[in-house]
């Protein structure tokens, strides 16, 4: 119990500390996950719309695959990327293992099925109607896509939040491919694991509270945008 209470005090301390390392960790967490969502969004949202609205052969298998991948264990995503980027792997020559870039690749892999899947589910029912309406009003293909994105912005927003939440809270993938290097690839979740391993349970709780609080603030922010 004492550890949990100390955790709350510790969380305040962390935020007010002005400690560069702590801010670096928080900043990297937010940044890596943000870039991952931004990259994933570019192809996952259109893919979700396309799969959700069109009839094509093997559509059911594709949907099933995406739904399955939504439950991809982060460690497996991480391990896959690790093996690709390892010195002995096919992309080893890039030399980006144990860098934030590798962490972004792993997270994109992890969250793309989520963003695609949630978008897909949203456009499934009403999408056809909106598309036809836009079409009869004389919209081109890109205009139709844009109309759909606008119409479904709430659902797409939810998919992005879900993806961001997954990215910022997972630890298995970033631990493996980032390496938890102090001052370079250490993020909040890997710091939590480290503090736990070192027996600093209150510190671990404190970082956890900071993580949750930030995610809460991001949610509020996104909800404002969606509502507008």
């Amino acid at each position: 119990m004492e550890n949990i209470l100390n955790g709350f005090a510790g969380a305040l301390n962390l935020i007010l500390s002005g400690d560069k390392e702590v801010y670096g960790i928080i900043g990297l967490s937010l940044g890596v996950s943000f870039v991952s969502v931004a990259i994933s969004m570019i192809f996952s949202v259109p893919a979700g719309i396309a799969i959700g609205m069109n009839r094509f052969p093997l559509r059911r298998s594709v949907i099933m695959t995406i739904n399955t991948l939504m439950g991809l264990p982060p460690v497996i995503a991480g391990l896959f990327v690790y093996l690709l980027l390892s010195r002995s792997g096919p992309l080893g020559y890039l030399r980006i293992l144990h860098t934030p870039k590798a962490m972004i690749i792993a997270q994109v892999l992890l969250i793309s099925p989520i963003i695609t899947g949630v978008t897909m589910a949203a456009v499934k029912n009403r999408g056809e109607l909106i598309k036809n309406t836009a079409y009869t009003l004389g919209a081109g293909k890109l205009q139709i896509l844009w109309t759909l994105i606008r119409e479904f912005r709430t659902s797409i927003g939810s998919s992005l939040i879900a993806g961001y939440g997954r990215a910022i809270s997972e630890v298995g993938a970033v631990m493996l491919v980032g390496g938890n290097i102090k001052g370079y690839t250490r993020v909040m979740t890997t710091a939590i694991i480290l503090e736990t391993n070192m027996g600093n349970f209150d510190q671990a709780i404190a970082i956890g509270i900071v993580l949750l609080t930030l995610f809460f603030l991001i949610n509020i922010f996104l909800q404002r945008i969606q509502g507008a």
Binding site: S86, R87, L97, H98, M175, G179, N180, I181, K182, G183, Y184, R186, T190, A191, L194, T196, N197, M198, G199, N200, F201
Partner: protein
């Protein structure tokens, strides 16, 4: 108080039953009473370091204990820091760790009782096969000198950075070298020994590792031993019982038996033999007392 009372009564009852069982006349022996070593222990929780677990030693010797006492040993393999904290919080019954100074403090603070040496292995400095800092020719077995050269040449060095026994030993060595380990070349990864070795192998970095984990993973690593044999790289393992008076529910009986067992000649011999068939050398040297 009430709990202690009930426990005492319970123990007395069991003792009476057991003594009755043995003093009873042999004519009315049931098959159950005939089974030898009727002693059964509640499961015990052993908090230990990743190095004992990763090396495979525990898998080798623990079944012997579990069979003898008809019990289960729940192994929680974590860093020494976390293992100590588990002991402080009463989440483990017995600790098998390697950080002598911290262990002694742990006992002095009343969290543990009855600390014994069990075995040792040694640390080595491993590094890339091409030895970019040229440690193999220049330093011999002087670990501090080796670290000095690594710093001077800005060769990559990867550190556990997790307050584990290995990490503490590494910091000790830096201190005796009089060198501050900081800079772009010093990578503190904050992970277990296995993960840190993989990291060093990938990044072509030097690393301080216990010999056992290094040998057990050697085939998958592009790392050679660069420095070995320095007395300062001695790695003593100790066993400590968690103080049963600090928390309720500590399995004192189990911890007592475990410590007795691991210090017995039989188990000490098993420890000495461990790894010889596979690596050509034992991974641990028993020195139980």
């Amino acid at each position: 108080m009430k709990k202690v009372f009930i426990l005492t009564i319970g123990l007395l009852l069991i003792l009476t039953l057991v003594s009755c069982g043995t003093s009873e006349t042999p004519e009315i022996e049931t098959p159950e009473e005939q089974t030898p070593q009727a002693e059964t222990l509640d499961p015990i929780t052993l908090a230990t370091t990743t190095s004992t677990e990763n090396s495979g030693l525990l898998d080798e010797i623990l079944p012997h204990f579990e069979e003898r006492y008809n019990t289960r040993v729940n192994v929680v393999a974590v860093g020494t820091g976390q293992a100590m904290e588990m002991g402080k919080n009463g989440d483990a019954d017995v600790l098998l760790v390697h950080a002598e100074a911290t262990e002694i403090e742990f006992v002095e603070d009343g969290y543990g009782v009855d600390r014994h040496r069990v075995m040792y292995n040694d640390f080595v400095i491993a590094g890339p096969e091409d030895d970019p800092a040229g440690l193999k020719e220049t330093t011999g077995s002087d670990a501090a000198n080796a670290l000095d050269i690594i710093k001077e040449k800005q060769a990559l060095f990867s550190s556990r950075g997790d307050n584990s026994g290995t990490h503490m030993k590494e910091l000790e060595l830096w201190q005796s070298a009089g060198v501050e380990p900081a800079g772009d070349w010093y990578k503190s990864v904050g992970q277990g020994m296995g993960a840190t070795l993989n990291f060093a192998s990938e990044e072509k970095a030097y690393v301080l590792t216990d010999r056992a984990t290094y040998l057990s993973m050697k085939d998958n690593l592009d790392l050679d031993i660069a420095v070995e044999g320095d007395e300062r790289m001695f790695n003593q393992y100790g066993v400590i019982k968690v103080n049963p008076e600090k928390h309720d529910g500590i399995n004192k009986e189990g911890a007592d038996r475990f410590v007795e067992w691991i210090l017995s000649d039989e188990v000490q011999d098993m420890i000495a033999e461990f790894g010889k068939d596979k690596y050509g050398q034992g991974l641990f040297v028993p020195n139980g007392e």
